[in-house]
């Protein structure tokens, strides 16, 4: 879509507002270089700090994972090569925990995506006067410290002090004798519900940013053409915010995969609800097995890297696109 504006000394071609002549381009690229330099200068210190607090510990963990090393017996530290990894990968506990972690990740992200979308649409469409209030209200759970919300949910469902059994005893299966934290399914339900309640605001905020990028005239045009609300949603809104959706899913998936607080507080891994972060914690911090714990942490890290890789390469998540750089 290009327009020619006649009548000037030289016709200027406007290409969606991004066209420019060569001289301007050359000048700007000089400026762009300076900007890039400034960018590095500004981000440099943070970058160095990031290297110090992330890269160094990761390398240290990789190194430690090759040793049989217990913190209370530092003199008995011995190089064991990859045998820590062999123990972990042949142990049913690791695979069980991996399965539980993936189950929690998939369910929470799926539920949160649907709920988050609904909330984002509500926030997007709300009349201006309500918008601020609504956003704040929706964000409240996200502002609560996870440990605190985990305790709140735990005590709500607890068989001795909880009120859920009392309030919902009309639901089949729920009675005052139901101990939510005594079986796998019910424990996991509370853990996931708490997680969803807590982090849906995060996903809805990301989606709200995506919604704001959908051009209003496209929607209007579709409306004029007689598209139903559902058609506008699936054909106009969703395709135009695919990047935002994928980024939201990726961020939440990475976050959910590292779930710790809720499980730690509510069951501490009882009834086979242990997740990988808890296993790493118990091994390194509980048993002070630095070698074995590091190996678990490294494997956990590799899982996270794999999720990123799959998302970015296979699903082509475009991190730049979500920021509106394209």
């Amino acid at each position: 879509m290009s327009t020619t504006i006649p009548g000037s000394a030289k016709d200027v071609e406007i290409d969606d507002g991004t066209g420019e002549d060569r001289a301007a381009k050359a000048a700007r690229s000089d400026r762009a270089r300076a900007e890039a330099r400034l960018g590095w200068m500004l981000a440099g210190p943070a970058f160095v700090v990031m290297l110090a607090v992330t890269l160094y510990p990761i390398l240290q963990a990789v190194y430690d994972s090759l040793f049989n090393y217990k913190l209370t017996a530092p003199d008995e530290r011995a190089f064991v090569g990859l045998s820590n990894y062999a123990v972990i990968l042949t142990d049913a506990v690791w695979w069980r925990d991996l399965g539980v972690t993936m189950l929690i990740t998939v369910i929470t992200v799926a539920v949160e995506l649907v709920l988050g979308f609904a909330l984002a649409l509500v926030m997007h469409r709300a009349i201006r006067r309500l918008r601020g209030l609504l956003r704040t209200a929706i964000l409240v759970p996200y502002g609560i410290i996870t440990v605190v919300s985990a305790f709140a949910w735990f005590y709500a469902f607890d068989i001795t002090s909880g009120y859920v059994n009392n309030w919902f005893d009309w639901v089949p299966g729920i009675s005052s004798d139901l101990n939510w934290f005594a079986q796998f399914g019910t424990s996991l339900f509370v853990i996931i519900a708490s997680e969803v309640w807590k982090t849906t605001p995060f996903i809805s905020l990301l989606l709200l940013a995506g919604l704001a990028q959908v051009p209003g005239d496209l929607e209007e045009a579709a409306k004029v053409d007689g598209a139903t609300a559902w058609q506008r949603f699936t054909r106009v809104i969703v395709p135009n915010m695919k990047a935002a959706i994928m980024v939201a899913v990726l961020f939440r998936a990475l976050d959910a995969f590292r779930i710790f607080d809720n499980v730690f507080i509510m069951t501490n891994g009882a009834n086979n609800t242990e997740v990988l972060s808890l296993l790493a914690y118990r091994t390194s911090i509980g048993q002070l097995q630095i070698g074995m714990g590091s190996a678990i942490s490294v494997l956990l890290f590799l899982c996270v890297v794999a999720i990123c890789f799959v998302a970015i390469k296979l699903f082509k998540v475009d991190l730049a696109g979500a920021r509106g750089e394209k």
Binding site: T72, V93, W94, D177, L178, Q287, L288, M292, I296
Partner: protein, 430 residues
């Protein structure tokens, strides 16, 4: 450009260095001893202040609070001590990780005169709990044991004579005949190990046969009559529903709540339940009738006719090996554990003294009518395995003896032995 970067660099350096510098504050004058205490009702802080005053300016004790449960206390202390933290002068240690700390040389050796003075007239359980490889490595402070608490009305209705020692079998029968629930700790936590250990010891066995052996040579004593008897009792309480639906998540405070309710019959628990129940009555949350209905007896026998071995707990004082004032710290420890302080601490915080002398205190006798029983129970109590690998053993037991309804005398002892042995050899994850 260079000009612009300088403030940034300064900021970055400040950001990294400022928190580090904050650690290095120091002041002259009275040496400050830091005492890491477990949470209580404020009694340890009071003792710290009293001993500081008493020292006449020789030292000043400040307290630092540790996390609530023993496992987290151990984690925090072990991590700090592994990094040779010199700020730890005194610490309140749960007896179960004293062996581990002693073996790792985290504890400063106890001077002979202190050892002698602080073990005089002290219950044997507390001395054993503070000893590693025949040497006193910590100073006994207070000693804890579980009693059998019962509702007199239920015991009477069931026709159980509570003046004689009773067995698990008997209280299970009594509770089920009255259609009531037993309050025991079935949550997957340290309290489960406490229960298992008391059952096994009561049957004449030991969870660990050779607790001083290196990890790969440790032998478990679960595949024995005692181990099977323990599994039998726990499994029956789990499967029969005698523990109630809350059993798999029941810790000490949940047990107390159950015991204060309408379904209560018998409960095994620490003496804190007495002061808690009294407080509940005073605040109006509980009927006086409930308090009047409560009776107490020695921990139930695993095998009828054979002495029970009640659980042993408590706190000993350790002195950090890396502190700058170890001598002063032992001086302070001696002051802290004086029988007078122990008696006062019992009265204010409900934690029973390790010193037998403290039980003679009239105020103790008045506040705790069961004080003599507690002392007797302490003499009979059996500690949990004193091994540097206690954490592995305890967590291994919790993994394999949980939930109580899955405990089976035919399979559980064998399964847990195989599992814990493999963990200790580094062949399995815990």
């Amino acid at each position: 450009m260079r000009r612009r970067t300088r403030p940034l660099a300064v900021l970055a350096v400040l950001g990294v260095a400022a928190p580090l510098a904050a650690c290095a504050t120091g002041e002259g004058g009275t040496p400050e001893l830091t005492w890491y205490i477990n949470p209580d009702a404020g009694g340890q802080a009071t003792i710290a202040a009293a001993c500081s005053d008493e020292s006449g300016g020789a030292y000043r004790i400040v307290t630092e609070l540790l996390p609530r449960d023993a496992a987290s206390q151990r984690e925090q202390l072990a991590r700090r001590l592994a990094a040779k933290d010199s700020s730890i002068d005194l610490m309140s240690l749960d007896p179960v990780f004293i062996a581990e700390f002693a073996e790792a040389e985290f504890l400063a050796p106890v001077p002979d005169d202190v050892a002698e003075a602080t073990t005089e007239d002290v219950v044997q359980g507390a001395i054993d709990g503070s000893t590693w490889k025949d040497e006193l490595v910590a100073v006994p402070f207070w000693a804890n044991t579980q009693l059998l608490w019962y509702r007199t009305s239920v015991a009477e209705a069931a026709g159980l004579d509570m003046s004689q020692p009773v067995s698990w079998e008997q209280i299970m029968e009594a509770a089920s005949s009255q259609d009531k629930l037993l309050a025991v700790q079935g949550a997957k936590a340290e309290s489960l190990t406490v229960w298992i250990n008391a059952l096994v010891e009561g049957g004449g066995g030991h969870v660990v046969e050779n607790p001083e052996a290196p990890a790969e040579d440790i032998e478990l004593g679960l595949e024995s009559d005692a181990g099977r008897e323990a599994a039998q009792i726990m499994g029956e309480i789990g499967t029969s529903g005698l523990g109630g639906p809350g059993l798999p998540s029941e810790n000490e405070s949940a047990s107390l709540e159950l015991f204060q309710g309408d379904d209560a019959s018998f409960m095994v628990n620490w003496p804190f339940v007495w002061s808690s129940t009294q407080d509940a009555v005073e605040s109006g949350a509980l009927d006086q009738a409930v308090l009047d209905d409560i009776g107490w007896a020695l921990y139930p026998q695993t095998v009828e006719g054979e002495d029970a071995r009640p659980p042993y707990g408590g706190i000993s004082l350790g002195v950090g090996a890396f502190g700058e004032h170890t001598e002063l710290a032992y001086e302070a420890a001696e002051c802290i554990v004086s029988p007078e302080n122990q008696a006062a601490y019992f009265v204010t915080d409900g934690n029973p003294p390790a010193s037998t002398e403290a039980y003679e205190d009239p105020e103790v006798q008045e506040t705790f009518p069961m004080a003599d029983l507690i002392r007797d129970s302490l003499e009979q109590a059996a500690p949990r395995p004193k091994t540097p690998f206690y954490n592995e053993v305890s967590t291994g037991l919790q993994q394999t003896w949980y939930p109580p309804s899955d405990v089976d005398p035919q399979t559980t002892p064998e399964r847990s032995t195989d599992y814990i042995t493999a963990v200790l050899r580094g062949e399995r994850l815990l």
